[in-house]
Structure formats: C-alpha cells, structure tokens
Amino acid sequence: MSAPAAAHGIPHAAALAAWRGRAPAPPRALALPAPELLERFHPDRRPGAMVPLRVGASAGLPCRAELAALLQSDALVEDEDIAGAPLLDADVLVIGGGGAGCVAALTAARAGARVLLATKLRLGDSNTVMAEGGIQAAMGPEDSLQRHFEDTLRAGHFAADKALVAALVSDGPGVIRWLIQEGMGFDLAEGSDRMGGNLLRRKPGGATAARLLSYRDFTGLEMMRALREAVLLAPGITLLERHPALELLTDDRGRCAGAVLHELARGRPVLARAGATVLATGGAGRLHVAGFPTSNHYGATADGLVLAYRLGAALREVDSFQYHPTGIAWPPRMAGQLVSEAARASGAALVNGLGERFVDELDTRDVVAAAILREIAEGRGVARDGQAGVFLDTPGLERAKPGILGRSLVTLTHLAHRAGLDAAAEPFLVRPTLHYQNGGIAIGPDGWSGVPGLLCAGEVTGGLHGRNRMMGNALLELVAFGRRAGAAAAADARAERPRNIGLTHLADWRRALIAQGLPLARKAPLVFPPYGNFDMAKDRGRAA
C-alpha cells in the first residue's frame, strides 16, 4: 500500500466528469471480503507498523511504533525542577478539560470533593467539541441494552472488555437524562414540540437499531457548551487553564498523588497534590501515526498514556487506531478535518474516480476506510493538487433529500464553505483521517487503572471499543465513565492525604529503560505536536 497522500489517480476534472455522467453511481462489482480488505489495506496491518513494548506493565504488548517511542522515553521533569515549585492541594485532581474531565470534575465536586481541574489549553479545547454525529444510548422501544451491548462487541471484533461494555450500555439512558438536566439540547423527532416529544434517533454504522441521538451535526459542541457552563458555575471546582500535566506524582507508598503541571503563562512547574487523580487527556491523533492527517484537536498528543504507563498502569489495544473514512483530502490546508458520518448515515454515497460506488457506506469504519485506501492504492482514486481521495457525494444526497444540507448538516455545509465549494453542487474530496485510539489505559468498571490513586476516563482508556469503535459510543463513554471515575475518586480521596510526594517512580523507570538498552535522550509527553515548535526545556527557563 502506498502512502495515503499519494497523488496518483484519476485527475479531478476527469473524475468529476465521470461522477456527473454516471449519477446515480453504479456499484463496483469487484468487492473484497472484509477480512481480506482489512488485511491488505488497513493502515494498522502494515508490516512494521507495530512493535512489542519492551518495558512497563504491558511489556510484550504490540504497540504502534510511533506511540511506543513516546511510551518508552524519559520524563520531561526532574526532581530538582520541582523543588521550590508552588504546591496546590485538592481532594481530586482531574487532568484534561474535555468532556470526560468536565464530567468527572462535576461528579466529584457534587460528591463533596475539592476538585482541581487542570487542562492543557482552554476548557473545552478538546476532541469532545469536535464530535459531530451524535451519542448512542438504547432509548428506543424496539431497542435494548442487550442489542447495544452486542452491537458494540461485534463492531469491536469481540476484543472489548465485556464488563466495561455492560457498564457503558446500561449507563446509556441515565447519561442522556443527566445531559438533558445539565441543559444539553437534543434533536427531536418529527412532530415533537419543544415541551415534549421523542428524541430523534438514527442508526449509527454497524448498529441493529436506531440509537444515535444528536444535536444537529455539532453534538459534541453542544455537549461541551452545557458541561463548560456547569463546570464554571460549580463552587467546588478550581480551574487551571493552560496547565498541561508533565508527569504524575507518587507518594511514599507508590500511590498516584497528583501531578506536576507546567504553568504556560509563567513557564514554571506547579505541583498539584491530590488524594485521587482522574486522567482524562483524550486521544493521540496528533501523533499522525502512519503519516496520516488527523481529525483531532491540537492537544491530542497521547500525554495521558505516557504518564500513566510510566507510573505502572497497563495498556491494551494500543495497536488499534481508528481511521475515519471521511477526512477532508482537499484543500490541503484543511486536510484531516472531519466530514461527519452523519452525511453517510443520511445517505451520501462514496464514489471513486470512475464514478462508481465501491463499498457499503454504512459498514464499520475500519472496512470503509480500508475500501477507500484500496481505491486510492489501485489508481481509482481522485487526484487533485497533489492530494488523493474519493468523492463524498453530497450533491446526490441533497437531490435525494432536498434541504438536508442546510437543515441538519450544518457543520458540513460550513466546512464546504470554508473549502470554497458548494456542497450541494460539488462532491467533497475525502480520504481516511486518523480519528480515534481504540485502545488505551486498561481500567475497571469504576475507572480505576491498576495504579492506586489513579483513575482514567474517556478516550485515554481502552477496553470499551475493542479493535474498532462504533460511532456515538465515545461520547457515551466520556459521560458514563467520567461519572463513574469522578464518583470513585471523590469516595477514595478522602481516605488519606498523600505524604512525601515526588517522582520516585522515575528511578525505577530509568533502570528499566537502561536494562532494555532503550535511549534516555527522548523525552515525553509531547504536550504539543512537533510543528507547534514548543520546547519545554526552553520554556521552563523562563520561570527565573
């Protein structure tokens, strides 16, 4: 398979002509069975893509090479750096101001804990605000928790942890009620009015029932709006914006005891000491694994995985990433940004450079992405200005359902505008974009990692989605497990105050790296993507 950005294919003008000439697009006959398609074209299956981890609690586990390099690196902070650093105290420290972090902070604060919420950028700068399609919950009369459970397991190729999935789906209806109480809006079914009625439900890819609830095509933004307000109004939460966590702290019993934060405004370390710590740092898209562009926000650099792993937490399925089928391929400046699955869910077709459909657009994401990559690799893609992709037939959708673009695919229409095209007249050029880390830190049903004092929630965790996440389950997860982790953290934190906090785990970690002959020169977490040109070592110097 060639690099995803390879430009060979059918020139854009010719492809447009083929698409126009063959509407509605005929299906292409030469379909591959899903297993073979995945084996040959999914980026995770490329030889050399995965390496076994050599140190840590999950030594031996296959891991994406780019991530393994970060996981097996030395810390950014030294014990000396934190001598003289200001110390903040809390019952619960929540790291990450996306959806999972906000929900955990709110839950812990409402349980009476004093909460410190530290985030890398501003509150809400996260993957959560970017979620478009919606959130799953088995609410329909024909649906059931059992079906949601089975759909999730199947979509994840049966690699998910059943206890976690059971917790996820059974929390579903309660999560929606909770979100409505927090003030989040949801689309209502035709015929409902504002004072009552039914939630609009759609069928997400890979599901057996209409279960996807949404707010237009900016569900995550609406969710974050409500959560953000709640957090800002909660008396028990102290918010620290622009305070990325650089390392977790331990106490003298090896419990997680908070974190070393870096105050960006002053370029100095700040210690946050806490009885319990909830890690909710989200995903890893900005690692650009396999050279893919990403749909993820700027801060998605796998920091949480690095921090937790160094402290002894186990990971799982870190060799499994989700490439969303429809990232923008052109214009290049918008490469990787997501065109919502809602387009396909509503009926938009994928069309190759020959004007043909080549996949069931509602198949699971891994299969659809692999099919697109195959078209590109085999020369049937569309080439434009050095970018290759396939068409997402939004004009065809608009023809079939007049008015849909303006009414419910608002974000898509806005994206098209920014790309300088009219979505009703011209198809988008799309190709898979690095979207989601299916795996992450192994947790139990209350969000506990294996490390005492450390809980995790949201995209940073693994086990809920197996090897492929269903659309709509991530938003459900972040609320369900944000609540679980927040409650568990508040209950645990009051047991005992951490003493002798420090970085004692680093010596053991370095010994392990040395024993494996791994270099100590590489430092992690990344905090910002390399093109951010942010040098932590230099920035720290500013403190003086």
Partner: protein, 439 residues
Amino acid sequence: MRVLTDERRCVGADLGAWMAAGGGAGLERALADRGGIIPAIEAAGLRGLGGAGFATHRKWAAVAAQPGPGKWVICNGNEDEPGTFKDRFLLSRTPHQVIEGALVAALAVGAADIVLYINPREAAAVAVAREAVAQWEAHPLLARLAGALGEAPRLRVVTGSGLYIGGEETAAVASVMGGFPFPRLKPPFPAESGVGDAPTLVNNVETLAHAGHILAQGPEWYRGLGLGGAPGTKLFSLSGDVLRPGLHELPMGTTLRSLVFGHGGGVLAGRAFKAVFTGGPSNTLLTAADLDVPLDFDSLRARGSRLGTGAMIVVGEGTSILRKTAEYVAFFAANSCGQCPPCKIGTHQVSRILERVEAGAGRPGDLRALENLAGLLPGSGRCGLVDGAATVLASSLRTFRGEYERALGPSGQEDGQEDGQGDGQGDRLRGGGLRGGAP
C-alpha cells in the same frame, strides 16, 4: 566475599538446612570455651551495626559483669528508617544465622531470656523468625546451652510497635516490657537496667549475625575479610539514583566509589554524582570529595560523617537535596515520640519551614531560621533522634546552600526579621539541652 548473604546460608526457617550449611559451629565453639567468647569478639573488632558503632565486646562485658540471673538479650530488628533494608533480609532469608549469634551472646552474658524484637510491618520477617524459633525447641544444642546457663533459655519473637522510635535501645526495652516505646534518659544504660530493671544486652540483628561466624571461624579470619585494617564485612543498603540498588555485602572499608560505581553500577543514566545520605539518614552527607573514603566506622568519623546502619542513599544530578532533606526531616518529626519538647517542637518547626521552602512559599529569614535551628537542636533530646535531624539539615545547608537559595527565590533570601518564629523558638529550645544518645 559474602558471609551473611552467602546463598548457601539463605535457608529460611529450615534449621536442618542451616546445620547442614555449617550452622551450629559458632555455638559449639562458644559452649566449648565460654570464657573465650568475649575475647574473640574483641579480637575480631566487631562493632554495633545498628547505627552507633559501639564496640560490641564492651557491651557484652558490661552485661556479663552484672549479677544474674534474670538477664535479657534483645536482638534489635526494629529497622524502620528510610533507606535501610538489611535486617529484614537477614530475618526473613537466614534467621538461624541471627538466632545463633543471639544464643552465643546469651551464653557470653549469662542471659536466659532472648528476644527477637521485630518490626511488625515486616510480616515476612516475623513469620519466618517465628517458624525458625520453633525449630530450635527440641534441638540438642539448645539443651547444652541450658546446661551451661543453669536454666532453660527462653527464645521468642516479640513484635514491637512498628514505630521508628521503638528501635532506640531503651525504647526497645520498654516495648519488650509491653509499654509504649518511650526512650528514657541514659544512664543507666540497658546493660545495667533494662527489661524489668534486669541487665539487658541490646544488639542489632546484623551485629549478632556476625558474632556466630566470628566464633566459628575465628577473629583472624574475620579481620581478614575487611580492607585497610577495618574488620569483617558490612551489609550496605544501596538505594536512590544508582543503576543497581539493593543489598550489597562488601568488605568493611570498601570505598564509596567502589560501592556506587562498581557494585552499584554507577549513577543512574550516567548522571553526575551529587551526594550520599548515610543511614539514617541522619548523618553528614558524603559528596564527590568523599568518593575515595573507605566505608568503615573510623574513616567516616574522620570525615565528620558516620557509617550508621550502612544505608547509602545516592543522589545524582537531577535529584534535589532540598527535597530529600525535607522528606527525611519530616520523617524524624513524625517519629519524634514527644517526650522531649525541643525534639518534638524543633523537628516540626524545621519540617514546616522546609516544607514551605520546598513548595516555593519560603519567607525571608527562613534560611537563617534553619541555620539557627540546626545549631541549637543537637543534644536537646534524651535519644539521638533530634541529633540526626539536625545533622542532616546542617550538612545539606552547608554543602547545598544553592539549592535552598534557588527555591527561596530572590525575595526569600533577604535576611528579613519578619519570621521571628524560628528565632523565638530557638530561644525556648536553648533551655532544653538534655544530653542523650546511644552508648
């Protein structure tokens, strides 16, 4: 050469295996020539390895000189300070070595009550020692010891409070008697008045473990184990920023360089060597200038430091001396028993100041307050606890003053008078000069 940690001697509670590995010979020799025990210990040059380094034969002779019966031997296995982990190894992996030494001591001083006094937090050590003690019950050597003593020896395990202070010898005595481990004023030393006012020999686990071998193989052999005139071997509890931390049994008199860079594999990640806290950690820091100092009692004394328990906590570049000092002083403060106000209040005062300096909230005058306290506190408690805290504080202030200054920042360094607390406290402390410390 490894003696105490020789793999063949690590037989656990199995007495048969211990005897098969050459055990029992020391006690045999002692029984054959009771009067020769103390001279042999003296000739070997054995000194206490519980921290104070007091000549073992003098302690034994002192207890032996007291009238019997009713005397006691306490084998001190309270071991609780940061960075020391040797006694728990001996008790859990090779307990008969310790018991045999204790029986030799009992014979030498004429004591029939022999207590293995163990920290209850070391559950494995307690369990193995209990099992080991039970196995001696019917052993013929014990019957012969009874014959020599004129009564049956009562060998048992007593778990203490688990508190650090319980390791101080008079506190250990109080603990064995079932009381709270309060140290008391000395003299009288336990050798005159210990358990139930009876003469009591208190020795460290490692000290006693050596005694059996000295009897079995002779003082000459023992002296030959050490380097540069220092006798025997020593267990070093090596920890901190080294590649290979752990328990290293090395000749007494091995240099610090050889311990850290040879046996310890060097400073972790090839960093520069900064200092070593010696166990403790209640002694003057050893720095790069001390790397070639032989690690034995006299050489370290001559450098103004102490061997202590042989715990060596290595600090490499990147690790803060200030933070470590704060941690250890906090440990001492938390473990002060509260009988002597200067100790209780003084260690807490130091700890509070260190904590705020460490947290970037130091105030002008803090540095001076710390220096004052470091000068005032030594000798103000009945046991050595406060001395240890003051020593490590003073040493870090002297050698790594820059770290304190950096943490205080420009504002914290001005020599202001705002914080009268330290000084005022010092005035009150001046009145409490009680002399104490182990013999």
